[in-house]
């Protein structure tokens, strides 16, 4: 297969996105069915309100941070496509960051390019930004946080982490693995962390496993004491400060409306309308009465258990941990919409160079099972919503199949993954060691 230069790939991707932005404008004007996402209209209206000095929450169904509306104020002042261009640039930035992360770990050029192609040429990905969805910004921030950590810039990482949790709550699931990664053996004051190279064939034993081993009570006490390292405390304090500053500032500006729409709504959201989640029909059938505490806990338990085990097992292999956590978080969530898939799509290229899964046929099995289950669900969803057929049971069973597909993908990736903790142990007393890059 002929090699494609990264520059050509980026150029092609940029042109592709520009084409779809222009096409989207044409379709919106000339066809009844819009290309543009409904959410983009919500952002634009909220931005227009903000430009007039009003609350963006006067726009019903605007459930995001005011920062999103602020970024889109030029929609009202310059041109309505400003936001789409911004999101598409973020989309391209994700591609650039993917390459940066892989190059930092010494992944060969062709493998880097193929991994980046998985993001840049994914039809789902390039339509997301060009239709006006803001998720590429969040994805770019998550990857930038990984880059900051890999470069040892804890303060930057903490700042952006606080900000991204403010923008979208879900990155809070990365808190524990980040904190665990900030081990004193990896991060020491004045020293850049050493990254594990892709081509190294030796797998480290204890730390290489990525799991945290605790043996006797004395070790537990030492482990607990060593948890509170300078790096961890700094990261926690700064990210928390940024998050609470943003929350406090916007609460001061927009009061309870902001708190409810941008934060509490997402924390307590249970949507009885059909979506990919296995819980949607259960929620609809119980919507006329409140859920018992036991019911809430039972639905929460699988999610929490999976998250904790994945963190415990893979925290040191940070991109892989993020990928699995995000995929699991989406799969077990009470509400799943298509835009959530982008959250783990942007992390998939970071794990591909370390998987032993061959495209033929394990890779194809994952792709076809996942896409097939999703398409199957969409078929029943179409029959319900657009044909008015009573297919609630079939749609719900399709959502169970989709959970099975997500589980299959996760299990396959775990079984085929080559463990590769991101950071190597620093020897005490050594002076600055540049990050090892091939």
């Amino acid at each position: 297969m002929a090699t494609i230069s990264f520059r050509s790939l980026m150029l092609f991707s940029a042109v592709l996105r520009l084409f779809f932005i222009i096409y989207g404008e044409w379709q919106d004007t000339h066809m009844e069915v819009r290309y543009t996402d409904v959410d983009y209209l919500v952002f634009s209206d909220a931005a227009a309100l903000m430009a007039l000095g009003k609350s963006p929450y006067k726009r019903s169904t605007y459930r995001y941070s005011p920062l999103i509306a602020f970024l889109l104020i030029p929609n009202a002042l310059i041109h309505r496509t400003w936001g789409k261009i911004l999101f598409s640039v973020s989309d391209l930035l994700v591609g650039y960051f993917i390459r940066t992360i892989l190059k930092l770990r010494g992944v060969p050029e062709n493998l880097c390019t193929y991994s980046v192609m998985v993001w840049l040429l994914n039809p789902f990905t390039f339509t997301i930004g060009t239709r006006g969805n803001c998720e590429p910004i969040v994805c770019a921030m998550v990857l930038w946080i990984i880059i900051c950590l890999m470069n040892g810039n804890l303060l930057h990482a903490a700042f952006w982490y606080g900000l991204v949790v403010h923008l979208r709550i879900y990155p809070i699931i990365y808190a524990f693995p980040i904190i665990l990664t900030l081990d004193q053996s990896h991060f020491q004051s004045g020293k850049k962390p050493i990254l594990t190279d892709w081509s190294s064939s030796k797998i480290q034993s204890t730390n290489g496993s990525g799991s945290i081993k605790i043996t006797d009570p004395c070790h537990i006490w030492v482990s607990l004491k060593s948890m509170f390292t300078r790096g961890r405390l700094l990261f926690g304090l700064i990210s928390a400060a940024v998050f609470f500053f943003c929350t406090g500032f916007f609460f001061y500006l927009y009061a309870w409306e902001f708190l409810h729409e941008a934060l509490l709504y997402h924390l307590t959201r249970t949507d009885p309308r059909h979506n990919f989640s296995i819980y949607f029909y259960h929620i609809y059938l119980h919507y006329e009465h409140e859920f018992a505490l036991s019911e809430k806990l039972i639905s929460f338990l699988p999610q929490v258990t999976v998250q904790l085990v994945l963190i415990w097992r893979f925290a040191q292999d940070l991109p892989f941990c993020f990928f699995l956590q995000t995929l699991a978080f989406v799969a077990f969530n009470k509400v799943i919409t298509a835009q959530y898939f982008v959250w783990f799509f942007c992390l998939l290229p970071l794990v591909l160079p370390w998987t032993n899964m061959k495209l033929k046929w394990e890779g194809w099995a994952c792709i076809l099972f996942w896409i097939g289950a999703q398409s199957h669900w969409l078929m029943w969803g179409y029959l319900l919503e657009f044909n008015g057929k009573h297919v609630f049971m079939q749609l719900w069973m399709a959502s169970l199949l989709f959970l099975a597909a997500n589980t299959y993908v996760m299990v396959t990736f775990i079984l085929r993954h080559t463990s590769s903790p991101v950071f190597k142990r620093l020897e005490h007393g050594l002076s600055n060691i540049p990050t090892k890059i091939d």
């Binding site: 193929y114 029909y281 259960h282 609809y284 919507y287 319900l384 959970l403 589980t407």
Partner: protein, 279 residues
């Protein structure tokens, strides 16, 4: 309230009268109750009466629905109404030049809503001259957690319609509507019935002392559906599914979680040598 008026700048409301008829109702009422709304119409908009022009317009033209049905399938449909404006031969008009709107007020039944932003899009495309949604405009809540709403649509029926040679005029109007998630049922479908709309004609003209004034010609339709009331059967959840769905949902979640947990626990650190990727 979703007030989206983009009406002809040459028409304006009579002093003290709202641009939208329905707006005044919700200023004094928290929710839509048919009897209250009928009383409001009777009190605020006397039938066939306009003080300004009562000597100049006789007999009053009639508005009626000639045809009404739902177009489309599924949860997103269009309520189509054909409105006929009948002007009796030999009617006496001594009106100045004027512009008229037909006003359709749909009191939506529980379980159906109109999207104000969608109506705004249609307004921008010139399909209506005015559109507004009053009442519960929440787009997401199911029927059991929502209240009723009213859609008021204004359609331009052309200039000088009352003094021309036309004996009548027919207007076709389609209002996009969406079904909410219906209350649970026994047989899988919930039936929604639409009551006849309220129809008005409002004309704006150049008066002697005032530059612009309005005529309200209101006609309560004695619309009798030839084929029965307009009905919309919406799929709904079945109560007897509750037990099995809950059990299987939680069982599936637990099984999937256990599979992932088991795999993670048994993941081997020494998972072979890494092979160079062959994509």
């Amino acid at each position: 309230v979703g007030n989206l008026d983009d009406s002809n700048p040459s028409s304006s409301a009579l002093h003290g009268v709202n641009e939208f008829i329905t707006e005044a109702y919700f200023e004094n009422h928290a929710s839509l109750i048919d009897s209250d709304f009928q009383g409001f119409i009777s009190k605020e908009i006397p039938p066939e009466f306009c003080e300004v022009l009562q000597d100049k317009l006789e007999p009053v033209p009639k508005l009626s629905i000639s045809h009404r049905h739902l177009i489309g399938e599924g949860s997103h449909r269009r309520l189509s109404s054909s409105i006929r404006l009948e002007i009796q031969p030999g009617s006496k008009f001594t009106l100045p030049a004027h512009f008229c709107d037909a006003i359709l007020v749909e009191r939506l039944p529980s379980g159906v809503f109109a999207d104000p932003f969608e109506l705004q899009h249609l307004l921008q495309r010139g399909v209506f001259t005015g559109a507004a949604v009053f009442g519960d405009t929440n787009l997401e809540l199911p029927s059991v957690r929502s209240n009723r709403s009213i859609v008021e649509i204004h359609m331009d029926i052309g200039p000088n319609i009352l003094s021309g040679n036309n004996n009548g005029l027919e207007i076709n109007l389609e209002v996009p509507l969406h079904a909410r998630y219906a209350p649970l049922g026994e047989n899988g479908f919930s039936r929604i019935e639409f009551s006849p709309p309220d129809l008005f004609t409002r004309c704006s003209f150049e008066g002697n002392s005032h530059k612009q004034s309005c005529i309200f010609l209101s006609t309560n339709t004695s619309f009798e559906l030839k084929a029965g009331a307009v009905v919309w059967d919406v799929p709904c959840g079945i109560k007897k599914h509750t037990g099995i769905v809950s059990v299987v949902t939680f069982f599936s979640a637990i099984v999937s979680a256990l599979l992932i947990v088991f795999t993670a626990f048994h993941y081997s650190d020494t998972t072979g040598c890494k092979n160079l990727k062959q994509m």
